[in-house]
């Protein structure tokens, strides 16, 4: 347990690592969401072209 507390620095170290993990996950999710948006937009565009 003590090794996880890191003296008086535990909160600083763990929050730094936590925020970093969250930001990287957000980067991945954003990239995915954007790709899906572009794909569905393209598909809708193609459908509209066909029905013309």
């Amino acid at each position: 347990m003590e090794i996880l507390m890191m003296g008086k620095y535990g909160a600083y170290v763990w929050s730094s690592f936590g925020i970093t993990a969250v930001v990287i996950v957000v980067c991945v999710l954003q990239a995915r969401r954007r790709h899906k948006m572009v794909l569905s937009d393209l598909k809708a565009r193609l459908k509209a072209m066909e029905s013309e």
Partner: protein
């Protein structure tokens, strides 16, 4: 080499090849981040001055490094796009910007959290390293805002490329700020005269984290550029064939 580069610059080829490369970059990025995190948090010896507080280095330094590397990618992409009119280069620049902004944010936040116990303050206005890094965040945001404000992609490419290139002056300023001016911020840890000034058990996890952030950034950049290419090529026949492959065979 030229042949390979030429092929990579062809949108359908890039779209296909990048999809196959991304999982490998993620896998290698996760493996190195695991080694770096466990090694950095639990196996690296305690620093004499900063005690366990120094462990923030394992996320702060890689984030700060990527924040600047991403800007160089963006500026070089913008420059190549302007000079040789290669659209993929503009797509690379546009893809690097949001990632660079996130990593700059990370460098600032983790630096702030590190500064609190070490310097006694979250933030110091006027400190050259801190201020120039914050300026880079605004450059990224300005770049993205400018792109978003211009509907015509070709015009957005040109205008934002100029901004990216002008702002590139800030990158060496960030890098050398701790040498040119007095700063609260400490000097370089790894690359300095006389070799790295830290214990190998501290050093290897740090190098692994830097490698990991580079790999993760590469994966994210490829993914973003892929999306950008798809959007830009929305009227091209290869995109239409990609989306309706079944109909081609019928």
């Amino acid at each position: 080499m030229w042949k390979f580069l030429h092929k990579m610059a062809s949108p359908p080829h890039f779209y296909d090849l990048s999809a196959r490369m991304i999982p490998w970059f993620y896998a290698a990025g996760i493996a190195t981040v695991l080694y770096g995190t466990v090694g950095g948090l639990f196996f690296a010896p305690v620093d004499e001055e900063m005690h366990d507080g120094f462990r923030i280095i394992y996320v702060h330094v890689p984030a700060a490094y990527i924040s600047m590397a991403a800007y160089m990618v963006m500026a070089i992409g913008a420059g190549i796009g302007l000079i040789w009119r290669i659209k993929l280069a503009h797509a690379v620049a546009a893809g690097a910007a949001p990632l660079g902004a996130w990593f700059t944010f990370l460098a600032l936040i983790t630096g702030s959290i590190w500064g609190r116990p070490m310097w006694g303050t979250w933030w110091e206005w006027g400190d050259p390293r801190l201020t120039s890094e914050l300026l880079m965040l605004f450059l990224y945001i300005g770049y993205m805002a400018l792109r978003a404000a211009i509907d015509d992609t070709a015009k957005a490419d040109k205008a934002s490329a100029v901004l990216a290139l002008v702002g590139a002056i800030n990158v060496p300023i960030i890098h050398f700020s701790v040498e040119w001016w007095t700063s609260l911020h400490q000097g370089p840890t790894i690359i300095k005269e006389g070799g790295p000034g830290i214990h190998p058990d501290m050093l290897y996890p740090l190098l692994s984290m830097i490698l990991s952030f580079t790999l993760l950034f590469a994966a994210l950049l490829l993914a973003r550029v892929r999306t950008e290419v798809l959007h830009r090529e929305r009227r091209a026949s290869w995109v239409h064939e990609l989306l309706v492959p079944a109909r081609e065979t019928v």
